[in-house]
């Protein structure tokens, strides 16, 4: 999966404190497949609700891009604009170099949309749905049927191809959503909560499929509440809050930048923690705090300090028995919560 070099990315900025985010590609960077610039959407006229406010980001081609945000942050609005369903109030969106407003047909030919919740036409079968949607791409009926059967089989819906969709379970409809998104083999896939409601087996298949699609060179724009999924599948994420982009970068870069000025906490598991041991730890250069815990002791050091070997040595010399030590890791969830002031996703 191709990702942009860290140097090309904008630094994380405080919510609303910096101008809208944008970045330019370096000479060796892959081309941007999705380019969003100054995107604004106001529902209900000029005095209405501002769902998106000057949103800008790009998604490189052949990448999986995670799009995160709390409920009501503007994720679905962004997705619907990318998919040419909604017109923006201001700003531009280009997909594969085509403007969604000026060349909507070119964009539509290149995208596959997987919306969050679709009930589908209750009286049509899964097969009929795929054949219907295929008809928009000029795929001949016989060919469409053949491909639809293959795809439904691949999605585990082979036995249900002739069943009316009203009899499908939530998970089956989700798989049908994925099938209709893939059917015409688009280079860009826009997915809104693709994994929600899947059982563990379905989840695993879905993860494998996304990885395979990424390996096949597809560009995937993936909005999800499941941060663990995003962490596993996407190296690059965008975080939106209150209609504004608050961060766009790789998870590693975001983490490193977010916490570059934060103290480091070492979680020590040990026995024989006495006042002498605590005093010895507190006297280590760079240590700013020591706190006994039921299983040992937490040692806080200054930002950028790696005091783990000094801590080990001090523990042993002071008579404690060291059993283990871990450095506190910041997850995507921590990042998300920090950037969205509590999240809600």
């Amino acid at each position: 999966m191709a990702i942009l070099p860290a140097s090309d990315a904008q630094p994380v900025h405080e919510h609303g404190a910096h101008p809208p985010q944008s970045f330019s590609r370096g000479a060796s960077s892959p081309a941007a497949m999705i380019e969003v610039e100054g995107l604004t959407k106001v529902y209900g006229g000029s005095r209405g609700v501002r769902a998106l406010d000057n949103v800008s980001f790009t998604v490189p081609e052949r990448s999986v891009f995670g799009f995160l945000g709390p409920n009501g942050a503007g994720k679905t609005t962004t997705i619907r604009i990318l998919a040419t369903v909604l017109d923006p109030t201001a700003g531009t969106v280009r997909i594969g170099g085509h403007d969604t407003r000026r060349e909507p047909m070119e964009v539509k030919e290149r995208i596959g949309l997987m919306p969050d919740e679709v009930l589908y036409y209750p009286t049509l079968t899964g097969l009929q749905h795929l054949v219907y949607y295929a008809s928009f791409y000029g795929i001949r009926r016989a060919e469409a049927k053949k491909r639809a059967r293959e795809l439904l089989e691949r999605m585990g819906l082979g036995d249900a191809e002739g069943k009316k969709v009203k009899a499908y379970s939530h998970g089956m409809r989700k798989r049908l959503s994925l099938a209709q998104c893939l059917f015409h083999d688009p280079p860009v896939m826009i997915m809104d909560e693709p994994a929600s409601g899947l059982d563990p087996l379905g989840m695993r298949s879905y993860r494998d499929l996304i990885r395979k699609l990424a390996n096949d060179g597809k560009t995937i724009f993936l909005s999800s509440h499941l941060l663990s999924e995003v962490e596993q599948l996407c190296e690059r994420v965008g975080i939106i809050d209150h209609g504004k982009i608050v961060a766009v970068d790789t998870i590693a870069n975001l983490s490193s930048r977010m916490y570059s000025g934060a103290p480091v906490v070492l979680h020590v598991t040990a026995t024989g923690i006495t006042d002498v041991v605590l005093e010895a730890l507190a006297n280590i250069p760079g240590v700013t705090g020591v706190q006994a815990t039921p299983t040992g002791v937490d040692v806080t050091t200054q930002p950028g300090t790696d005091a783990s070997s000094d801590v080990s040595r001090a523990l042993v010399l002071a008579g404690a028995e060291l059993r283990g030590m871990t450095k506190e890791q910041r997850s995507l969830e921590d990042l998300f919560l920090a950037l969205t002031k509590g999240g809600g996703a």
């Binding site: 589908y120 036409y121 219907y132 928009f136």
Partner: protein, 455 residues
């Protein structure tokens, strides 16, 4: 071949909408209701016009006869108009002052006889079922030795009184074997009851009855047009009644099938999938229109054709071709206008419930409320000016799709029906109003869908 962007997606959406509607329960229910109203109504009203069209349910064919002693005997043959006798029925006789003289019962062949002595006139009344039929018998000298009682009416359901039923008895009151000819051409011989029935051409005919070498000629006139009374006008009148009723249910049919054409896509979440396909919004809306229009138009046209067929079969003569054609075309126009109206409202409706509500309101508006409001407005505005009142009520129909379609249909109706549903507006004015309504509603539906489809 790719369609221009404006139409992209139209054929796919139209086919999908059409096939989905065709399989829907509501289409089947509405088609059955339409059939019940139009086809059943066509048959029922044809039967109704027949029973009111000049033929009584029972006839007292009354003749003077003479007993061997010279006494005057009134002979009454009781039958239906088509010559089936009613036996054992009371026949009442009265004098010229309506004083009852007595009652006789019809025999097995339907004949009742009553000796009136030397009276020259006797009144006759029969009561069969709920029907009462009265006539009289004159005993004046006749040049031939037989008597003829005839009844002209629409026996063959042609919409005009071009049939003649005839009872012929000899001087003694027995059924006579009579040869009958019309304008010199034989039309048959009386049966054992002395009865014969035959059709006449339009215009004046000479009907000649010949019995035993004696003959009598009767002039009979069949008018060229319906005689002007409402229920003797035949198939065209039935079609006029059916068209007025049909337009009420056709508008409901169109609303029922299209009220959620857009809103259900939104509720199901399929609208986003549709709009993300290589299709334009105009193409999707036009596809929705064509699909819904086709799904309503096909069953309605079939039902209307069946209704016209039933009128023709039941009355022996179809309605005027131009009138029937206008009825079919007017129904299609009405369907198109209501589907377009409903597509606009369906785009604005956020839920299926509000879409239903809008549908009910729009039907009530144009079929109940609008005529009432315009009538009240005319009364309030032009109470002192009858001419202005009249002109206002004529022009106010242009603001209502149902009235416009109705006006167009009655423009093609035969002359006697113009007052039934027509207007004094010139045909080009009504035609232009229909075109403005269609184009206006199409533009409104396209604009609304463009703006609101995804919101």
């Amino acid at each position: 071949m790719k369609l221009p962007a404006f139409f992209r997606g139209m054929p796919q959406v139209a086919l999908q909408e059409f096939t989905t509607n065709l399989k829907s329960v509501r289409l089947i229910v509405m088609a059955l209701l339409s059939a019940l109203l139009v086809v059943g109504g066509a048959y029922g009203f044809t039967a109704l016009t027949s029973s009111f069209g000049g033929l009584p349910p029972a006839v007292a064919w009354a003749h003077p006869s003479y007993a061997p002693n010279g006494s005057h005997v009134a002979v009454v043959w009781v039958s239906d108009p088509y010559g089936a006798p009613f036996s054992d029925r009371p026949v009442e006789f009265e004098d010229e002052n309506r004083t009852p003289l007595g009652t006789a019962r019809s025999d097995a062949d339907g004949f009742a006889r009553f000796d009136v002595g030397t009276r020259d006139y006797v009144g006759v009344t029969i009561r069969i079922g709920t029907a009462t039929f009265g006539t009289g018998v004159d005993f004046f000298p006749r040049p031939v030795n037989f008597t003829v009682y005839s009844l002209q009416g629409d026996y063959s359901r042609h919409g005009r009184p071009d049939g003649l039923g005839m009872s012929v008895l000899d001087r003694s009151g027995a059924p006579a074997t009579a040869n009958v000819s019309v304008n010199g051409t034989s039309v048959g011989t009386t049966d054992r009851f002395g009865y014969i029935r035959f059709d006449l051409p339009v215009g004046l005919s000479q009907v000649t009855v010949e019995v035993g070498g004696e003959s009598e000629t009767l002039p009979v006139l069949v008018p060229d047009t319906a005689d002007g009374t409402p229920f003797s006008s035949g198939p065209d009148l039935v079609l006029a009644v059916i068209a007025s009723l049909s337009f009420l249910i056709v508008s409901i049919f169109a609303i029922v099938l299209s009220f959620d054409a857009i809103s259900k896509e939104r509720v199901q979440g399929t609208m986003d999938l549709l709009l993300s396909r290589p299709s334009s919004r105009s193409g999707v809306l036009l596809g929705k229109f064509l699909g819904a229009f086709g799904a309503v138009a096909i069953p309605v046209t079939l039902v209307n054709l069946a209704g016209i067929g039933v009128i023709a079969a039941a009355s022996g003569k179809g309605p005027t071709g131009a009138f029937a054609g206008a009825f079919l075309g007017g129904s299609l126009l009405l369907i198109a206008l209501y589907v377009l109206l409903q597509l606009t409202l369906s785009t604005l409706a956020k839920t299926g419930g509000s879409a239903v509500l809008y549908g009910v309101l729009i039907w009530l508006l144009f079929n109940i409320l609008y005529p009432i409001v315009t009538a009240v407005a005319a009364t309030v505005l032009f109470s002192g000016d009858p001419a202005a009142y009249f002109r206002f009520t004529q022009a106010s129909g242009l603001g209502n799709p149902t009235s416009i379609a109705s006006s167009l249909v009655f423009l093609s109706a035969p002359p006697g029906f113009q007052g039934f549903g027509g207007s004094s507006l010139e045909p080009p004015v009504v035609g232009a109003a229909a075109a403005v309504w269609f184009v206006g509603l199409l533009a409104l539906a396209l604009w609304t869908f463009q703006k609101k489809a995804a919101e």
